[in-house]
């Protein structure tokens, strides 16, 4: 039977990104009349195994000791071998750095085509088409993949999770033949932001820009974020000025996010910034300049000095949440 393979990393668990990939895979499998096959690399815990078995029709776990942590060449070898054995029509991944590194090379080894950062998938006359944002979010393109399999990494939060079924798929172990030596050797893996969820996975983001004028106001923005259960972000100007860590940067040269709500405070909305957040489902802005481009992307906003708005907003939000 035809297959859609989704690739998940055990280390990440069945997180929101993985759920989005599974959701996209389930709908694409439905359109293609194909089976949804989840491939998990590494050693998934029981919670992940049962969650994946409940959404997929088949599960393969690649639990080789060499795959305990991510390595580009070894993961590529393993996934190539598994995909070759099952001849899928499509292979879906999330848009984390490791998946982005793997996808084009995997497509090449399988004789297929790859496309980046998909926002929607559909089948047209038997061919798989992907909608994606281009020119820094200023335009949308529909891309048709010309070779099979179609290897696509997805802006996974843009996809609803897959429904879980009553029945559980059988979990098979992959049989692999991996090289014992690789030309690249991992010497250190540093996790700096383990406590924080990924900005790309945030449901709500509170973001500050150049107009804040310094690092201090971010403490006030943090209060808004705490009340809403939001994550903090910033524009390039604020990161380049050293007010907040570079990992907070949203934009063309930073993170690309699409939360349910993006609150832009003292951010004018330069192309660079819009490229990272214009796919947000709802944008709200506080800006002193009514002509600021950010308002063109807003559902609602307020034209006022943030210094006057923020203290009142903290008070009102706290009262409404209480």
């Amino acid at each position: 039977m035809n297959q859609v393979i989704i690739i998940l990393f055990a280390q990440a668990g069945y997180d929101r990104a993985a759920q989005g990939v599974a959701g996209a895979g389930r709908r694409l499998a439905g359109e293609l009349g194909a089976q949804l096959h989840a491939v998990v690399t590494g050693s998934p815990d029981e919670a992940m195994q049962s969650a994946v078995a409940a959404v997929a029709d088949a599960v393969t776990v690649a639990d080789d000791v060499a795959l305990a942590s991510y390595h580009p060449e070894l993961y590529l070898q393993a996934l190539t071998q598994i995909c070759q054995a099952h001849q899928p029509q499509a292979v879906l991944l999330s848009n984390d750095f490791y998946s982005q590194e793997l996808a084009p090379r995997l497509a090449h080894r399988l004789g297929g085509s790859a496309v980046a950062d998909g926002l929607a998938l559909h089948v047209h006359n038997g061919a798989i088409r992907v909608n994606r944002s281009v020119y820094g979010g200023k335009a949308m393109a529909t891309i048709e993949l010309k070779r099979s399999p179609a290897v696509i990494w997805l802006r996974s939060r843009a996809f609803d999770p897959a429904p879980a079924s009553e029945t559980s798929a059988t979990i098979n172990q992959a049989t692999l033949d991996l090289s014992s030596e690789t030309p690249t050797r991992l010497t250190e893996r540093k996790v700096e932001a383990s406590e924080e969820a990924r900005l790309e996975d945030a449901k709500i983001i509170v973001s500050g820009g150049r107009g804040l004028g310094g690092p201090e106001p971010f403490k006030e923005l943090q209060k808004i974020a705490d009340i809403l259960g939001a994550q903090m972000a910033a524009s390039r100007a604020a990161c380049d000025s050293g007010w907040v860590p570079p990992s907070w940067q949203v934009g063309q040269t930073g993170k690309k996010v699409a939360p349910g709500l993006y609150v832009a405070i003292a951010i004018s909305g330069a192309s660079q910034h819009l490229a990272g957040m214009s796919d947000s489902k709802c944008v709200a802005a506080i800006n002193i300049d009514k002509d600021a481009p950010i308002f063109k992307h807003c559902r609602f906003g307020i034209v006022e000095d943030y210094r006057k708005v923020v203290p009142l907003l903290i008070e009102r939000l706290a009262a409404l949440k209480a």
Binding site: P72, F97, Y98, Q100, E101, P104, R105, S113, V115, A116, D117, R129, S133, V134, Y135, G136, K138, A139, M140, A141, T142, I143, L145, K146, P183, T184, R185, L186, E188, R189, K190, E192, A193, S194, L228, P246, Q252, T253, G260, L261, V263, A270, S271, L274, A275, A284, K290, P293, H297, R299, F300, G301, I302, E304, V309, L312, L313, R316, L320, K321
Partner: protein
């Protein structure tokens, strides 16, 4: 160990062009240039900067390579002004927005023709189409290992030590050369501004011009540039541009409305 470094660069439409000036050609599926500038893709400039710093520390030779229209020569002249040692322009006389595999095949053929290389560097993605595949496909075409999102490179005894960004921190690798890396931006690789004198000099420096025929690639396939994927539609999405400015008699009233709207949206999630 002094390395022979090849840096692949791409010329693109200035990504800073404001949305209000941005138009697309619905038939050709490409952006209308209008009065916008053509610039070197920022991540390619980060790659050039990384290469130049590596050379300053450990010696070596840097060759900048581009596959593009006549105008792409400007990106190579700028690379020469930044002090790369050589430049190669493969003229694209076919589809000006070829798919990623066509680009990788052309670059791989050019790199084989250059012959002597230890490290191949490309930007992580471009600021126009953001395809993000040139590095990975190039590695496969050349049969080389690859590491993406690299921001720091140092020469070691038998290759290079790399630091690359991940979603949650960073990885370090000890890698043997030859190797393909994709470069991302970091505090350390902000591209240098060439000196006026070097810009003047760069216009007189030798610059190799190759055609697809010189590379022994399948020219029909490469010129068509759509055997891997094809753009079937390009459009400017209609956004909800009607921003509702919260109203009220006093600032307190307005902020109260703002807070209520925020709670409505978050409550519906």
């Amino acid at each position: 160990m002094a390395l022979n470094i090849i840096v692949c660069v791409k010329q693109i439409l200035d990504p800073e062009i404001p949305s209000r000036d941005f138009r697309v050609d619905n038939e050709k599926h490409e952006a209308v240039r209008g009065s916008a500038n053509l610039v070197t893709n920022i991540f390619c400039e980060n790659a050039l900067e990384t290469a130049l710093q590596l050379k300053e520390k450990s010696g070596g030779k840097i060759t900048a390579v581009t596959y593009g229209a006549e105008s792409a020569e400007d990106s190579l002249r700028k690379a020469l002004a930044m002090k790369t040692d050589a430049a190669v322009h493969i003229l694209n006389d076919g589809n000006l927005h070829p798919d990623a595999l066509s680009v990788a095949k052309v670059l791989a053929a050019a790199i084989r023709k250059i012959g002597d290389y230890d490290l191949i560097m490309v930007g992580r993605e471009s600021g126009d189409w953001g395809v993000g595949q040139t590095g990975g496909l190039l590695a496969e075409e050349l049969g080389l290992p690859s590491v993406s999102f690299v921001d720091t490179i140092e020469v070691s005894d038998d290759g290079v030590n790399l630091k690359r960004q991940t979603d949650v921190g960073f990885d370090r690798f000890a890698a043997k050369t030859p190797l393909v890396v994709t470069i991302t931006n970091d505090d350390h690789n902000v591209p240098r501004i060439p000196k006026t004198r070097d810009i003047m000099m760069s216009s007189r420096q030798p610059l190799a011009k190759w055609t697809l025929a010189d590379l022994g690639v399948n020219t029909d396939e490469i010129r068509a540039g759509n055997g891997y994927y094809e753009v079937v539609e390009l459009f400017i999405p209609v956004k909800e541009t009607n921003c509702e400015f919260v109203d009220g008699d006093t600032l307190e009233d307005k902020v109260d409305k703002l807070a209520q709207r925020i709670i409505e949206v978050t409550g519906a999630m």
